[in-house]
């Protein structure tokens, strides 16, 4: 069993991530599914992260947080933020089965990032909608 998105959908997602997030100055952004597969990945070319491992860990981490949320009676945590010294990580749920991971430096404010992530997710939701029905 497998699933796929059309090239137009993938182009559309890439465009949203480029315009709303990369142009804001974030270093890297990855859309993954909850199994850890990478749907789309963009970066500024300076990062060289091991993106497959990052996706596996992000999916595992988010899955663990969701399970903990359920244990304490929350439906789920829809976003997570980890602050580093130079780099920060932001995770946000996209529809039910996807996760947007954003890596950004301190030059981008968290408040503004959150706003832009929320906008991007709304657009991505619309793009994915026909496939998820």
């Amino acid at each position: 069993m497998s699933y796929t998105f059309g090239p137009e959908q993938l182009d559309g997602i890439e465009e949203v991530l480029q315009n709303d997030l990369m142009n804001l100055g974030v270093h890297s952004v990855v859309l993954i599914d909850t199994a850890g597969n990478i749907i789309t990945h963009l970066d500024n070319g300076e990062m060289g992260h091991d993106i497959y491992s990052l996706a596996a860990l992000a999916a595992g981490n988010f899955g663990a947080m969701s399970s903990m949320a359920k244990m304490i009676g929350e439906k789920e945590f829809s976003l997570l933020f980890h602050k580093g010294i130079k780099e920060n990580l932001h995770f946000s749920k996209v529809s039910t089965d996807f996760l947007l991971v954003t890596i950004f430096g301190n030059e981008v404010s968290l408040g503004f990032l959150r706003l832009k992530v929320a906008e991007a997710i709304e657009k991505i939701d619309k793009i994915l909608e026909p496939s998820l029905a």
């Binding site: 497998s2 796929t4 597969n37 990478i38 399970s67």
Partner: protein, 201 residues
């Protein structure tokens, strides 16, 4: 569930090594990592406890090459085998396209193998998958121990305990020595890929 990217002509699929604690799942991945270093561009990710037991999962990306013009990228995972980590096991199993069940040949681990296989069935069901239809290979590991005079289960016993209903490929191996580790991997990859192949046009 595998993801097919028509733009990059790439398929990502997930294979999970399952089985009782200390059965040799991590050792399988460590051997694959050493043996195929030229194909693996990154470090192996391990999340372990102090005592070397897997706490969350191990992860290793493995490039198979091209099939029908698609780049096949396989993500190899191990689960933590210890009973208490069931929630984590279920999480790692999520979206699996193929499973290697690593059974421990040690006579004293007989019951543990059977319980772990039942646990796999339960967790696949929880993920809307079926143990009878998912690509699955059994590995009877630690066959090398026989030479050291340590009591191990006969193949007939292992087949009867674990494979009498499943009837899937089963392979004798020693993950520590590397015997048949690659063969196990080859088997599960070919089963997994052929189950996806019809979806690649």
């Amino acid at each position: 569930m595998a993801f097919i990217n028509p733009k990059k002509k790439e398929v990502q699929a997930k294979i999970v090594y399952y089985g009782p604690g200390r059965g040799g799942k991590t050792t399988n991945l460590e051997y694959i990592y050493k043996r195929f270093k030229n194909r693996i561009k990154t470090d192996m990710v391990v999340i372990k406890t102090h005592g070397d037991r897997t706490l969350f999962f191990d992860f290793l990306p493995f490039d198979v090459g091209k099939i029908n013009g698609y780049d096949i990228k396989i993500q190899l995972y191990t689960v933590p085998g210890q009973l208490k980590y069931d929630a984590t096991r279920q999480l790692v199993l999520r979206g699996a396209d193929g499973v290697v069940f690593v059974a421990d040949s040690l006579t004293v681990r007989r019951e543990k193998n059977i319980l772990s296989l039942k646990n796999l069935q339960k967790n696949l069901t929880a993920n809307n998958k079926n143990i009878f239809t998912i690509p699955l290979v059994l590995q009877y590991n630690k066959r090398d121990l026989e030479k050291q005079g340590i009591p191990i289960l006969s193949l007939e016993t292992l087949e009867k305990d674990l494979n009498s209903q499943l009837k899937v490929p089963s392979i004798e191996a020693s993950a520590l020595a590397g015997t048949n580790v690659a063969l196990t991997l080859k088997n599960i990859i070919s089963l997994t890929v052929s189950s996806l192949k019809k979806e690649l046009t």
